[in-house]
């Protein structure tokens, strides 16, 4: 079955079994390997991408659901060579060890800040609870999100 995917602003035609999940289509067909496999059943958030601005677990997202929607992966967050403020904040706070969780964390954080530009500590925990960092970088990741939030506030209006 041929499916049209709009990924990071460009159209891709993917010929795949309709049972294929979005994660596999991105990684194995389009070589966009920034989204990671961590569990395959929606528990870890490593595979997080944005679909129409919302964070979804691509490992349990059927390809059909994503058809025609705007998909953003970690590779598409950079704009004209400039990192997204959340990417910058992750770098500045050193919010990673092995970094395998990082793309999922960043995209979840982008979606969180989109909905709630000024999250409290509890909002961050609630919003990020579905993302596992086995290396335990949680405190830095939370710090990165707070940093990005404070910057966005600074530039708003």
């Amino acid at each position: 079955m041929a499916i049209q995917l709009l990924v990071n602003g460009s159209e891709h035609r993917v010929d795949a079994d309709p049972e294929t999940n979005l994660l596999s289509a991105l990684r194995d067909r389009l070589d966009l390997t920034g989204a990671k496999y961590g569990c395959g059943d929606g528990q870890c958030g490593a595979c997080t991408v944005l679909v129409d601005g919302r964070a979804v677990r691509s490992c349990i997202t059927p390809l059909g659901y994503a058809e025609g929607k705007r998909i953003t992966t970690i590779e598409g967050l950079e704009r004209n060579g400039r990192l997204h403020p959340v990417q910058d904040a992750f770098l500045e706070t050193g919010a990673m060890q092995c970094a395998y969780c990082t793309s999922g964390m960043i995209l979840s954080a982008v979606a969180l800040l989109e909905k709630n530009p000024n999250p409290s500590g509890a909002d961050i925990v609630r919003g990020m609870e579905g993302n596992i960092c086995r290396c335990g970088s949680y405190p830095r990741i939370a710090a990165a999100i707070r940093l990005a939030a404070s910057r966005q506030k600074g530039t708003a209006r």
Binding site: T20, K36, Y37, G38, D41, I74, A99, Y100, Y138
Partner: protein
């Protein structure tokens, strides 16, 4: 080799180094620094010195400066999230007085880097960093020598800075690349080459950001599981229905008839390759296989099984007489502690991409032991190691759980059958089931203490969980420590801090219990029985930062020593009266691991160890029955998440006068006993099994 490294069975037997002249030529000339693989690096491999004749062949290339001035450094260590790439680059940058960014570090590529036994035991910092300091210093010395000759200026008047040799206070300066251009220079690094003392460090000891951080935040870094090759197929293995099951019969006709599917059978190994992962999954599902397994113990009867299946007993330490010590004491205590099997659960599961060119095999895989995996592959395929190349891209963590090459062997076997490159990525369920676990164990302690708090007897028996960290830090005149190796129902192996976590849990819990028995404060009680000044200093530092003694309930403390690092953890917990749910409110860690190389990286490692420790301490446990894991998913095997993270404070004691020790492991050891004490202080319930409260505390 430490006894609990069960997963390490075979060591590399051969090494066929390339001629170094050819090597420097193949790099386009320049300066090459070579050196011996030092004692500690080779020691466990049985590859020590083999007499002077062989010496030149044992030389390995460590550093190269090309005509373009690019500094390339080679190390067999792998980056698995412990920030080694950055901290090792700092070591070379320090000696060459050049920015970290001007260095390229080639890691864990068996065709290009010096032999290394593996990235474990927290040895990268104490062993590899000093080696790279020596290598960098040798390069600096050579470059200064070259410039001195060229200019006719004596060496003492020259120095290096920013990729140049410069004349101190003079006008001469030349870039490294210009000096080495057109040369084919090979220099040997002396084992005792003078390096920059820690007190003069300018780059080491500073918080250098992760060197490949940008690749990480943009998703550009390729982990093993992200690799691909032209024509690559996806491999999938049909797993037996139980551990140790034997294949009785197989019917693969349905799978074989699927277009584009290759079916592989080699003895009991059954697998397929297909153009996409879904097809491979469906093909594996279509295989009809019948397996036969022997009855196996379940997690419920685990501890009885371990005690009934002792294979060997080692007396680790014995002094004085236990009966005498028990008589001298005024209070005695006898307790048993249990530790469950837990899973490392690296977020990146095992993965490998294998490719054959004729009879030469190249495998990309996430492993902490590239040379060990090379050996495994050579043995599996009966080919010499020189025909196997293992490359480890920076990996999605290991925590001691990726010492073996299962995925590498599987991918290589399938690739051989398919005649194409094959990638195998384990599912989370496979990782939980077919990787190895941190050993479970039973620890029995009998002790006696005088009313003034002095320990008089200490008898300690560990069944199965390992001998690392089994010797205590306290002074006891009558002591007996034994490790009993038993059969293990699950495949088991290294873990962050190995067995030390279990031994510390039992010992430090017991020490807290003894303090209560003689009505002493746990900190005071420890100090009474401790002499080591560094150990005392971390306890004092943690107690002070924590405000020990100021709070009445919910607080616990524990200390330890592991891998030359001294640690003390103080914790505060809150226990919900109605649900029994335990929440860790605050953890203070005081840590002394010698001279601090990268304070920011070190703090991060400590925090990571503490957070990982929360899982093993409170709720992680592998459940099993009939040769199967019963909770092989993140839904049922809970790991720490954002909401589990307490307030964390780290006190680093920077000892510039003491060599740096590794730090990724030690800070985990005192977490569980500190929690057990804090829970006791909050509820009056004494918990002696890890995990302490998978379903809350019943009060």
């Amino acid at each position: 080799m430490e006894p609990e490294r069960y997963e390490l069975r075979e060591n590399p037997q051969y090494d066929f180094p390339m001629d170094r002249r050819d090597f420097v030529r193949s790099l386009g000339g320049g300066l090459l620094i070579i050196g011996l693989v030092t004692g500690l690096q080779a020691q466990e491999s049985g590859r020590g010195r083999r007499g002077d004749q062989r010496m030149p062949e044992e030389m390995s290339a460590w550093l190269h400066i090309g005509a373009d001035g690019v500094i390339t450094v080679y190390t067999g260590k792998a980056e698995v999230g412990q920030n080694t790439r950055t901290s090792l680059m700092q070591a070379v940058a320090e000696e060459l007085r050049t920015p970290v960014a001007s260095i390229r570090l080639v890691m864990a590529d068996t065709d290009r880097v010096p032999f290394d036994m593996g990235t474990f035991g927290s040895l990268s910092t104490p062993v590899m960093a000093p080696q790279l300091h020596r290598v960098g210093a040798a390069a600096r010395d050579t470059l200064i020598g070259m410039a001195s000759k060229q200019w006719g200026i004596e060496r003492g008047a020259l120095d290096v800075a920013n990729g140049e040799v410069i004349e101190k206070g003079g006008s001469h300066r030349i870039r490294f690349g210009e000096l080495t251009r057109g040369q084919e220079l090979v220099r040997t690094v002396a084992h005792d080459a003078p390096v920059t003392p820690a007190s003069e460090w300018k780059i080491c000891g500073t918080p250098v950001p992760k060197v490949n951080g940008r690749e990480m935040v943009t998703g550009q870094h390729k982990y093993s599981s992200d690799m691909s090759a032209p024509g690559m197929l996806y491999g999938k293995v049909l797993r037996p229905t139980a551990f140790g099951a034997k294949l009785v019969s197989v019917d693969a006709r349905a799978a074989q008839s699927m277009p584009g599917v290759t079916f592989v059978r080699d003895a009991d190994f059954l697998a397929v390759a297909a153009q996409d992962p879904l097809k491979a999954e469906k093909a594996v599902e279509a295989i009809q296989a019948e397996w036969k397994a022997d009855p196996q113990p379940s997690s419920r009867e685990l501890f009885a099984y371990l005690k009934a299946n002792i294979a060997e007993t080692q007396t680790i330490h014995s002094t004085g007489s236990i009966p005498d010590g028990m008589r001298l004491g005024e209070a005695a205590l006898r307790e048993t502690y249990h530790v469950a099997y837990i899973a490392h659960t690296p977020l990146e599961p095992r993965a490998a991409l294998a490719q054959w060119e004729g009879d030469k095999l190249t495998v990309y895989t996430g492993s902490q032991r590239p040379f060990g995996v090379r050996s495994e592959l050579a043995q599996a395929f009966h080919i010499p190691e020189e025909r196997v190349r293992v490359i480890v891209p920076d990996t999605g963590a290991g925590y001691g759980g990726k010492h073996t090459g299962e995925a590498a062997i599987e991918a290589a076997r399938i690739a051989k059958a398919a005649g194409k490159p094959v990638k195998v990525v384990w599912t989370r369920e496979e990782e939980f089931t077919w990787a190895y676990a941190r050993p479970a164990g039973i620890i029995e302690i009998a002790s006696a203490v005088r009313n003034d708090g002095l320990l008089t007897a200490w008898e300690f028996h560990n069944y199965n969980s390992g001998a690392a960290g089994i010797r205590g830090i306290y002074i006891v005149p009558n002591e007996r420590i034994e490790f009993h190796e038993t059969k293990s129902p699950l495949r088991q192996g290294s873990y962050r801090a190995l067995a030390s976590t279990a031994n510390h849990f039992a010992r430090e819990s017991h020490i807290n219990e003894l303090a209560h028995a003689v009505k002493m404060d746990p900190v005071e009680f420890r100090m009474k029985n401790l002499q080591d000044a560094r150990q005392r200093a971390v306890i004092a530092a943690a107690a002070e930062k924590f405000g020990w003694g100021k709070m009445k309930s919910g607080c616990g403390i524990a200390a330890g020593f592991e891998k030359n690092g001294y640690v003390c953890s103080a914790a505060e917990v809150a226990v919900d009266r109605s649900t029994g749910k335990v929440r860790v409110v605050r953890v203070v860690t005081a840590f002394d691991c010698g001279a601090v190389v990268n304070p920011d990286g070190l703090k991060h490692q400590v925090e990571g160890a503490v957070i990982m420790g929360i899982g093993g301490a409170l709720f992680e446990s592998l459940e099993f029955a009939d040769g199967r894991i019963l909770n092989p998913h993140l839904r049922t095997y809970r790991v720490p998440r954002f909401s589990d993270v307490p307030e964390l404070e780290t006190v680093l004691i920077d000892r510039k006068d003491v060599p740096s020790a590794g730090a990724g492991e030690s800070p985990i050891v005192a977490i569980a006993p500190a929690f057990a004490e804090a829970i006791f202080s909050a509820t009056g319930v004494r918990l002696r099994s890890m995990p302490l409260a998978p379903n809350g505390v019943k009060t």
